[in-house]
């Protein structure tokens, strides 16, 4: 029984999550004495997957699969899993993967554990650790079906090079008209901006910034750091920033390397959604703000002074280090 991974790509290019999933699968294959096969849809260059331990890549090229479609993609992965007799199927926790996962779970008759953060603590019974209660706790989940579906949390396992080479095979799944019952009318996507989902660094602003006119410095700070911008819930509720930037328990989850919170108090619902980030920095005038209890580094100070100064210092730092 091999391990099958689905490696996500965008515009023909594999995403970082693809290499994370490959690294995790390779380590798990080591535990269970098996091999790793990847299935990639319309990805141009898949050779790099070998470097992260993938033994074989099933390459799907199909114009019909150009735009993401949960049902069709789930169908592709299911057929790949059947061909490879896969006992464990691993995907990421991206929004698209979370969209297709439950459909895939039903198709494969597989028990599904989402938001997994570590290798199984045992494989018989099969038990994995995942987050629950929006990062307020972990939960050891036992999957009891023959086929297991794992959704790996972003940034939890990391990238591990294995220095192998992957064989490539063409894979042509049979697609069904039913897979395409939902038609895309329009896509409205900002280009050239780092998204919260992909970002290594996220710069986030709260109500302490007083109004939307003050977001220039937040964007500039994000620019200098190559970061995505985000905000607290009231900021998007008041229309200062778009809803897509709202992070937290009821907004987008953030699992970045670095999360910088500016003028955000650190309410429990906000922290829950961003806690999976590795390093947290808070800039706030109030030393009693709860965020200081959750952060690694803190500056007690006025954002309107600290942020512009930080931007200047970072520009100098970047100039010296590039």
């Amino acid at each position: 029984m091999s391990i099958l991974i689905y490696t996500e790509s965008e515009g023909g290019k594999l995403k970082k999550t693809a290499f994370e999933v490959a690294s995790y699968a390779k380590a798990l294959a080591g535990q269970t004495g098996t091999t790793v096969t990847a299935v990639a849809v319309n990805a141009d260059n898949t050779a790099e997957l070998g470097k992260y331990g993938v033994d074989k890549v099933l390459k799907v090229s199909d114009e019909k699969l150009k735009g993401f479609n949960a049902r069709a993609y789930a169908d592709v992965i299911k057929q790949a899993a059947a061909q490879e007799n896969a006992g464990i199927v691993i995907i990421s926790s991206s929004a698209n993967d979370k969209y297709l996962a439950p459909v895939l779970a039903i198709n494969l008759e597989a028990g599904y554990a989402p938001n997994v953060v570590a290798l199984p603590e045992s494989t018989d019974p099969f038990r994995v650790k995942r987050t629950a209660f929006t990062n307020k706790a972990f939960n050891i989940t036992e999957i009891r079906t023959d086929v297991k579906l794992i959704g790996l949390s972003k940034n939890s396992f990391g990238l591990k090079e294995a220095n192998g080479a992957a064989a490539e095979e063409t894979f042509a799944p049979a697609l069904n008209d039913n897979d395409f019952a939902i038609g895309t009318e329009s896509v409205d996507k900002t280009t050239g901006k780092v998204t919260i989902a992909d970002a290594e660094i996220v710069v986030s602003g709260g109500r302490g910034l007083k109004g939307p006119e003050n977001w220039g410095m937040i964007e500039e700070l994000a620019d200098v750091l190559g970061a995505a911008t985000a905000c607290s819930k009231p900021v998007s509720d008041m229309g200062w920033r778009p809803h897509g930037e709202h992070v937290g328990q009821t907004g987008k989850p953030v699992a970045a390397n670095l999360y910088i919170a500016i003028g955000i108090s650190g309410a429990i619902q906000h922290l829950a959604g961003i806690n999976a980030s590795k390093v947290k920095v808070v800039i706030n005038t109030d030393p009693e703000a709860p965020f200081f209890k959750a952060a690694d580094y803190g500056v007690v100070g006025d954002a309107f002074e600290v942020v512009p100064a930080l931007i200047e210092k970072l520009k100098e730092f970047k100039a010296q280090n590039s």
Binding site: F133, N135, A197, K233, H246, T250, L258, Y297
Partner: protein, 248 residues
């Protein structure tokens, strides 16, 4: 149009999370339960379809008797009737199997569920329900219109949004955006009184096996002290982020 709104009964977002029985059970002591926030947005959107397009709205929960106050709250907000499937919601698959039967038997055109429950964050039920019933499925739904049996749905995607069209029956995994925060309704006295008269049907579960079990819980390791940096010494912050944390 017949709408079914799936309601998951979850700890209030401010709840402190604790476990009992050797960390094998969620400790509900002192925890207040609410309608899952994602479902509250969906329920409010359903009320719009009821008021503007004459839709009927049924709410459903798979859970024990303790979830009835949550269903009554949904009735007080304006749903027409409620169904409770009398079983412990052991996993997403088990819940989806129960709901699939309700959807088939009730002939619902539109099923509104949430993107995820904030307790187990499974994000499983709506997609599984769609796969089990064959209905169309749109996740992370932030906008929904229905005209002549055709739905136009807006879905949040990475860095933007996408608009799709499809036929009913449709199942959505909804979230904020379906309606705005300011559109959410607090039940008024009249609603609460009327809710007491509305039908709440209790059904016994279908035979189904759960596929996963939560065997144990853990709390995150306690956090170390924050390192404070003076606003006059931001070079130190940059140096810490570069040399110590290695994130820039």
């Amino acid at each position: 149009m017949k709408i079914l709104v799936c309601i998951s009964h979850v700890p209030d977002t401010t709840s402190k999370i604790n476990f009992s029985d050797g960390d094998t059970k969620f400790d509900t002591n002192g925890v207040q339960f609410v309608i899952n926030p994602n479902d509250e947005f969906g329920l409010t959107r359903a009320m719009w379809f009821k008021e503007k397009q004459g839709a009927s709205v049924t709410v459903v929960n798979v859970g024990g008797p303790e979830t009835e106050p949550t269903l009554r709250k949904a009735l007080a907000i304006g749903a027409d009737e409620a169904i409770r499937v009398n079983a412990e919601a052991t996993d997403g698959f088990f819940v989806a199997r129960q709901l699939a039967k309700i959807v088939k038997d009730g002939g619902y055109d539109l099923v509104i569920a949430g993107r995820e429950s904030i307790d187990y964050n499974g994000g499983m039920v709506p997609g599984m329900l769609a796969a089990l019933t064959g209905a169309n499925f749109v996740n992370t739904c932030i906008g929904l219109e229905v005209e002549n049996n055709e739905a136009t749905a807006t879905r949040e995607i990475d860095g933007g949004k996408e608009t799709v069209k499809c036929a009913l029956p449709l199942i959505i995994g909804g979230q904020k955006g379906l309606v705005e925060e300011s559109d959410l309704r607090i039940p008024n006295m009249r609603g609460i009184m009327m809710a007491r008269q509305k039908k709440l049907t209790v059904l016994e579960p279908e035979e189904a096996q759960s596929q996963t079990t939560a065997v144990k819980f853990e709390k995150p390791a306690p956090k170390g002290e924050v390192k404070l940096v003076s606003p006059d010494n931001l070079d130190e912050l940059i140096s810490l982020l570069h040399n110590e944390a290695k994130v820039i």
